[in-house]
Subunit: 110 residues, 4 copies
């Protein structure tokens, strides 16, 4: 079953969804929220696909390779955006790192 | 914005998710549930990706083409399985038809 | 089955989720995004519970009354926030109206 | 922020959603699937509310108490059903235990 085959991917997805949601929340509280609008949008996109794929894996979905390919792409986009703000915002730095790890884990099964 | 460009796709996704959820519920109530296990599994897969894509469209996600390609594939798989039972179960017949329309609509933007 | 009993609630949930997602997208594009942060946050909350309840209804979930009570509360909070911006932003005005209708529909079964 | 206040609840929700999804998958593969239909249905209900609440917590949602109250109730219902099959199916036994822990964790903040 998928969840026994991919424990590291499941952990990476879980961590990435959590960091994206933290970053979403923290960006909305930043003084310079105008600068963070792309980050806010991508945080939501990334949290949703990571959560979808994580649950697909745990229910042994037949479509994990296809979902992982999309997830890798969204994680990369979110990670790239967060990287732009990593110097000023610790939450973006952590999120960028989680996105990078998750994109890599997704590509390994896509 | 995506939701103004794709009203027909949004409707097709909404209808397909609803039919898949009805079919899931109805399959679980069938006497011959053993025959319906693939249908039950695919109904859930299909309802989830259709719902995800519908919401991605309405929030103007940058990733609708990628999600639509996956959605088309899952709709086809669910529609194929439902077609096997369409003669005996009205809910599978309706679901197969909704899946076929939705797969087609997804392919048009994938 | 729930989806035959509650067609109006399903429509209200669908409309509310869509308007909340449109409003989320539009708020992120506003010049005065700083003023819209509570709206952005509540739009996401409201879209997610409305989508969850809509799907629960279509799959004949045993927990619709409980979910509807929470959904009514979240719709009210989102509608109240959107109402503050309804004079300046058409998307907030439309969202506030969809939230009000949906909250009312939810309360009727909660 | 909620995710720093409630690390144990987040873990309990994550574990419960995963066990419910495993149990859903495993029940569909059981020879006596007819006996498992209530379990299959409740596994899906429980996985969805646990995932929703987990993500609400990580994005610092203002509605976690309300969602936790519903989640506790659904976890209890799923755990009760799984308990009936715990003697014969290891996946139900594990799921029942995860549901029990999660219901308790939810009640502590509801």
């Amino acid at each position: 079953m998928a969840h026994k085959q991919y424990p590291e991917l499941i952990q990476a997805l879980h961590d990435c969804a959590a960091e994206c949601n933290h970053c979403f929340d923290a960006c909305l509280q930043e003084e310079d929220v105008k600068m963070m609008v792309d980050c806010i949008r991508l945080n939501r996109e990334c949290a949703e696909i990571c959560a979808s794929l994580e649950h697909a894996l745990t229910r042994n979905s037949p479509f994990i390779a296809e979902l992982a390919a999309v997830c890798a792409k969204i994680c990369e986009a979110c990670g790239d955006e967060c990287t732009k703000h990593a110097e000023h915002h610790e939450h973006c730095k952590r999120c960028a790192e989680a996105c990078r790890k998750c994109a890599e884990a997704c590509r390994s099964i896509a």
